[in-house]
């Protein structure tokens, strides 16, 4: 391969100093010798936005002195899709459909924080039926497991541990199957709605959940057996991406990164929502403040989540047939879905009810589906503990049928700011490990 002379994104005339190289693969010798000719050790490497180790479209701008990183900066925005702006043009219920797509590894948390904010503004927080609360917790904790599995899987892959990746995605698939069974979709569920959840549990779901719990109890220890004492794994992770408590506080870092400093801060315990105070679980911490500690915390959190899922399944067994939507007919989405001869649609019972039995029900259905409901003016912020930390939606209403403003404080966005402090002064190979230990999801960062 010959060295490419022109870079479509950085014409040599646009740089203030130095020579621009475009690395296209299999051209290491050419680039290395050309750099040596320049007679300078300092190189600025533009890593990403299309790079398999950057968790999506993250761009890292690294200034290297040999193999030591002297400066690291993040370039983000490549996945910005204007979700917050779009939500201002849809009804409050439709907003769920948008925000579920932000952090695509933890969709239920996006939905939950937004919905909790809307419910606070509607002043119906105390009216949400128990079954809806339990189902929300069930889905969120299953989601924590699937999200942590991806974090561990991709983190492993990036340091060359391919088995960790394959087993991680294998188990995640099982969680996604449960999601598909319960919500109808593997991701982008739009299942948690203002007032409750969109549908009841399908028949047979509890058995599937119990099978999953039994299987995971066997599979989760396999990760520990494979990784915990693995010398290569430990050599790559221990002492890498160090960030202490003071650093976390200053940079607003939450989630496993904060807990790896030994501080057991978890919103599920400190400011419970959706009835988390009724579940028995622990908040795992580690005291090394490094990537290895974060890995161990994620592993332990999956055990704790499984414990909560088990408690949810037990409670749901006693809640068969209970409502999953608030009783207020002016807020509750009126219909339940059912499978008919021509596919999925409104249940025949509901059609019969609104067309033949109740004029009032027909009016409510029509008004809610076309106009939606009005939310009293004001603002609310109800954060939840997502797998990555504090995820909060700042929801503002002007009394209309659509959000006046919905802003999401996404933990990936905030945590990514720690990239510089975690990787400067370290080796370039450790940047990957440090970023992976933050577990940023670019869909959430850029929204």
């Amino acid at each position: 391969m010959t060295q490419t002379q022109s870079d479509p994104y950085a014409q040599s005339s646009e740089t203030t100093s130095g020579k621009v190289f475009t690395v296209t693969g299999q051209d290491w010798d050419t680039v290395a010798s050309a750099v040596a000719d320049e007679g300078e050790e300092r190189i600025v490497v533009n890593m990403g936005p299309q790079h398999p180790s950057t968790h999506g479209v993250l761009r890292l701008i690294l200034e290297l002195d040999g193999e030591t990183v002297t400066e690291a900066r993040c370039g983000i925005g490549y996945l910005h899709t204007g979700i917050e702006k779009n939500m201002e043009f849809r009804s409050w219920t439709q907003g769920v459909t948008f925000c579920t797509r932000m952090d695509y590894l933890s969709p239920f948390y996006n939905e939950a924080t937004y919905v909790l904010g809307v419910e606070r503004l509607l002043d119906i927080e105390d009216d949400i039926p128990e079954k809806a609360q339990v189902m929300r917790v069930l889905l969120m904790e299953l989601n924590r497991i699937s999200s942590h599995l991806v974090a561990i899987a991709t983190g492993g892959m990036e340091i060359g541990a391919l088995t960790v990746m394959t087993v991680g995605f294998r188990e995640r698939e099982l969680v996604l199957d449960l999601f598909e069974l319960i919500t109808g979709l593997r991701m982008n569920h739009a299942f948690i709605r203002p007032g409750g959840v969109s549908q009841d549990l399908p028949p047979g779901a509890l058995d599937e959940i119990r099978d999953f719990i039994a299987l995971m109890k066997k599979r989760l220890p396999e990760y520990a057996a494979l990784c915990n004492e693995n010398p290569i794994f430990k050599a790559r992770l221990q002492g890498v991406g160090h960030l202490d408590l003071a650093g976390c506080m200053a940079l607003g870092i939450t989630g496993p990164v904060l807990r790896s400093t030994g501080y057991p801060w978890d919103l599920r315990k400190s400011q419970p929502y959706s009835g988390y105070e009724d579940y028995d679980f622990d908040v795992p911490t580690w005291d090394t403040a490094d990537s290895y500690g974060r890995f161990r915390i994620r592993l332990e959190e999956m055990h704790q989540s499984l414990k909560i899922v088990e408690q949810c399944a037990d409670r749901l067994a006693g809640l068969e047939g209970a409502p999953v939507m608030v009783a207020d007919k002016k807020i509750a989405w009126p219909s339940q879905l059912a499978i008919g001869a021509d596919g999925m649609g409104n249940s025949l019972d509901h059609i019969r009810h609104i067309m033949g039995e109740s004029m009032e029900a027909l009016i409510h259905h029509f008004k809610l589906v076309t106009e939606g409901f009005r939310v009293p003016p004001g603002q609310a912020y109800v954060p939840v503990e997502s797998p990555r930390g504090e995820l909060g939606a700042h929801v503002v209403s002007d009394g209309g049928t659509r959000p006046f403003r919905a802003h999401f404080r996404d933990p990936s966005f905030t945590n990514l700011q720690a990239t510089s402090v975690m990787s400067e002064g370290g080796m370039v190979a450790d940047v990957i490990v440090a970023v992976a230990s933050l577990d940023p999801v670019m869909g959430g960062v850029d929204r």
Partner: protein, 254 residues
């Protein structure tokens, strides 16, 4: 002490500063009366978003003000009073007594409206005072109220005290014509990216930010997309012969 003769009293004109009765503790107003007025941020006209559509239903004539929750008089209830008292005394110690414009308690959340010039000092006080200890900032969120005259742009900060397990909200306003708010990055470094984002989307200039550049939009993007006067964009879509207009020009309920 002998009682004064009628002629010995100082001459007092009611309503002036000399009127000592106005200054007696029971006559001092707890808050400025203006702070308790409901805040009208806009006026909503008609029932549907699109005007001039020949709507003959009569709903087109509806005029309703958009009223945000008004200021709350003391006591605020629960731990809010504790925080408010500690906050006020800390501000007095710091010598900025007029920092709080008004306090709104709504749906179990407390919002302090802060005069923008005092924001940095206020943030420092909230972080460092042992009785307050709001050591964690969840970032800043912008809101654009085009109808709120001379207070069009709001910057909203959510602060968390992990020590006391409390959450408060700060709100700072600035007019469209002078979109400047002091940066709090020196107090809460986490706000670096958050302020860049709010600048990017709303055009609020955070004075004192180390490098206020766009973060989500491309560097050469014109305008600030989350402002209400910035269109959503989109193209009409044809489906089975019918044309569906883009979301922001569809008929909608307001």
């Amino acid at each position: 002490m002998t009682p004064k003769e009628p002629g010995e009293f100082d001459e007092v004109t009611p309503g002036t500063e000399d009127d000592v009765t106005d200054l007696m503790p029971e006559n001092v107003l707890p808050v400025e009366p203006g702070a308790l007025e409901p805040e009208v941020v806009d006026v909503r006209r008609g029932m549907f978003g699109v005007h001039g559509s020949g709507d003959t239903s009569g709903y087109g004539g509806i005029v309703r003000p958009v009223v945000m929750p008004s200021g709350t008089p003391k006591p605020y209830g629960g731990w809010f009073d504790e925080v408010a008292a500690a906050f006020e005394s800390a501000l007095t110690t710091a010598g900025i007594t007029s920092a709080i414009e008004k306090v709104v308690v709504h749906r179990g959340e407390i919002t302090f409206f802060i005069r923008r010039g005092d924001l940095l000092q206020v943030a420092k006080t909230l972080r460092d005072d042992p009785a307050l200890r709001f050591e964690f900032c969840s970032g800043v969120s912008g809101v654009h109220y085009p109808g709120d005259k001379d207070r069009e742009l709001h910057a909203v900060y959510h602060l968390l005290s992990m020590t006391h397990n409390r959450r408060i909200r700060l709100e700072v306003t600035c007019p469209d014509s002078d979109p400047h708010i002091p940066s709090v990055v020196s107090v809460y470094p986490t706000n670096d990216w958050h302020e860049r984002e709010t600048y990017d989307f709303f055009g609020i200039i955070f004075d004192g930010h180390p490098a206020l550049t766009r973060i989500e939009m491309p560097d050469d993007w014109p305008g600030h997309p989350q402002r209400k006067d910035y269109p959503l964009g989109g193209i009409p879509v044809e489906y089975k012969g019918a044309t569906i207009p883009p979301p922001d020009t569809r008929r909608s309920y307001t």
